[in-house]
Symmetry: C2
Subunit: 408 residues, 2 copies
């Protein structure tokens, strides 16, 4: 848990850190037996009750822990999050809801907290009851394992991820040093897992629940809601944020302080979200798609997402194929206001389409741009001032192999 | 051109046949030099002016031939269709429009027709000017090659298709034998081609243009608009229908006659559309997704299309993986009214999800059902009476390999 302090307080930068980096937070990650061998149970706990906010999947099929935690976080207060991986507790009916409630109760008991202050999340197999004997024996052990080291928790929430995802920022707000840290897991889906995007953020800033909720909504819009790996939205997607105020200083409620806090929160969430894309199943490239000149921000996002989810664009990017026609065709069917004649497309600084027509003599340079591990696609629609940025991955044979096979 | 006559006139069945099977139609397919070797220029011509209707891509990026033909068919009359493959004449600006107009004019000259009676379609490379010298030398030759054999035309409209797609029906309407035939090409996209769905239907029925337009819209809704291979909509998608009345008999305008005509037209269009899915790049299975019990027909179609386009569902079907959680998750994010508790899913007759919960003991039988070349997914949402059926393919490594590679 190395958290290097920033040298220039005004420009927050990503530093090493995780969900236990902010003052007054501890975490633990252990193996309890939901999975055969790998860590599968995580706790994140604040030493005092904290403001809390959550953003959840919009899928109408919501897993039991999502339904439980949506209600639990509605009051805006929480002190602990308990997470299991290996089983999503989704499509499990009423017994599944009872299992989520019991998970919260077990954690509350082990930590000596009111059950109302415990939030729950799960990820893993769908349609299979949560193995509660493992959870029952595991939670007290996880509580005893709590420490200021958040790295084991970051490993315990993973399913098919290739690497743990943690990040933090440290910045000064109103003369007080504030830390925002977090951990996430990725969006791969492998049989028999239905994996999920989970993200747990903690901060020692003091932020009232209503303000925290708006800040988190803004940060998620520009991070986890601006990424796509396969266009599917899971039954379990959850982002939670706890703010325990241990940094001291006045509550952050508006003005420059709130602006700085939200920007830093967005930075951490964005870093974690891009890690999720990089770790997408079979992904070999991180692709940033920036749309400018759309009729509105909403239309810019819609256009960018349509391009980001186009199988033909994603396979072309994987193959290093500067097939700009596929980008134009995706824009054309995205439903947003656009005209070929005013549409420009660039890879980084290299313009490949001007006014809807291919720029001649750039094919080789465009192909070379696609050889990079990070690809920047810039689209100017020329019909308004709306702009948005989304991140996606390429689509490789590996993705199909992983997601189609019995045995993986 | 074997057209076997139906034994039971009341139940039209698909027979062999093509765009030249109906009385008074001739066709030709030749090589003119847009492609290196393969046939690339087709003509379909009626001996008399015909009622005409068209359905076109909804993509805002429309190829020149689409823009040209949308205007040309608006009057409801046509006598010939000229089609080239190998070049889409898309993203080619004003010169592209002039090329489409010249193609129509060349065909009109070679056939001795008013240019207003000629429709144009193109498919192939995007963003490259149409090689007009090849078109100019080819059209007169194609006109001289016209014959009652429609099979060479069916080959000349192909791009990356593995097989030509033709079908017909013959039925009695008001005591008159009517033939509806057609040809189509598929929806694969390979560098540097942006391929397209094209379908050309002809009939000797007598149908006024306004009625023909409605019948075609209905038939396309249940055929070409009910299939999806990769979710992308091309710049060139076109379905055209000519009805020359050479079968004799009174005009078909309403009642039982129109009902029978529309059903038979839908049958031919559906057969051709399913051939397009079967021939999808890297497709190994034809998957029918039927949704019942949706709040409306529109919602049923939306739910079915979301499942049909889900990468996770498509890769699971390819891998023979009865991962029903992916189907539920796709339904949940489709935006339609649904509740887990009332949702059932079957593979054919085998129920695998009842009331949102997995049926126990059916995994092996479900996996076996996915081994078939044709898979039937039945979804009952239990919230209303809306129903819809769509067809899709699985998603194989082959799809990614084809669409991602330079050299294919």
């Amino acid at each position: 848990m190395n958290v290097s302090t920033m040298t220039e307080a005004d420009i927050p930068k990503i530093v090493e850190g995780n969900a236990a980096s902010a003052r007054g937070f501890r975490a633990a990650g252990i193996h309890c037996g939901v999975k055969r061998e790998k860590p599968d149970l995580a706790l994140v706990v604040s030493e005092v009750p904290a403001s809390a906010a959550g953003v959840f999947t919009t899928n109408k099929v919501k897993a039991a822990p999502v339904r439980y935690t949506q209600r639990a976080v509605a009051g805006g207060r929480a002190q602990a999050v308990v997470v299991n991986s290996g089983n999503a507790n989704a499509c499990t009916g009423e017994p599944g809801l009872a299992d989520s409630a019991e998970m919260a109760k077990l954690a509350a008991g082990a930590l000596g907290l009111d059950v109302e202050l415990v939030l729950v999340a799960s990820t893993g197999v769908i349609g299979v009851p949560l193995p509660m004997e493992a959870i029952r024996s595991g939670i007290p052990r996880a509580a005893r394992a709590l420490s200021p080291d958040g790295t084991s928790a970051a490993r315990a929430i993973l399913t098919t991820d290739k690497f743990p995802k943690t990040a933090a920022v440290r910045l000064e707000i109103d003369g007080v040093e504030v830390t925002i840290g977090g951990m996430a897991k990725g969006a791969g889906m492998i049989h028999p897992n239905m994996a999920t995007t989970l993200c747990f953020l903690t901060t020692d800033a003091s932020v009232p629940p209503a303000v925290l909720r708006r800040a988190l909504a803004r940060a998620v819009a520009d991070s986890f809601n601006a990424i796509t790996v396969d266009g599917d939205t899971s039954t379990n997607d959850t982002v939670l944020l706890l703010a325990n105020g241990r940094a001291g200083g006045p509550p952050i409620t508006n003005g420059e302080a709130l602006h700085r806090f939200t920007a830093a929160l967005t930075l951490v969430a964005g870093e974690l979200a891009r890690m999720v894309v990089r770790d997408g199943e079979g992904a070999t490239k991180l692709v940033e798609i920036a749309v400018e000149g759309a009729a509105s921000e909403l239309e810019a996002r819609q256009a960018a997402m349509t391009v980001a989810n186009s199988l033909l664009v994603k396979t072309a990017l994987h193959g290093g194929e500067p097939n700009w026609g596929r980008i134009l065709a995706a824009l054309g069917r995205s439903g947003v206001e656009m005209r070929e004649e005013t549409t420009d497309v660039s890879f980084g600084e290299l313009e490949i389409v001007r006014g809807g027509l291919g720029v001649t003599g750039v094919w080789d340079a465009a192909a070379a741009a696609l050889e990079e591990k990070e690809i920047f696609v810039r689209i100017r629609l020329g019909v308004g001032n709306g702009a948005a940025k989304v991140w996606t991955s390429d689509l490789s044979e590996e993705y199909v192999r992983i997601n189609g096979s019995y045995t993986s």
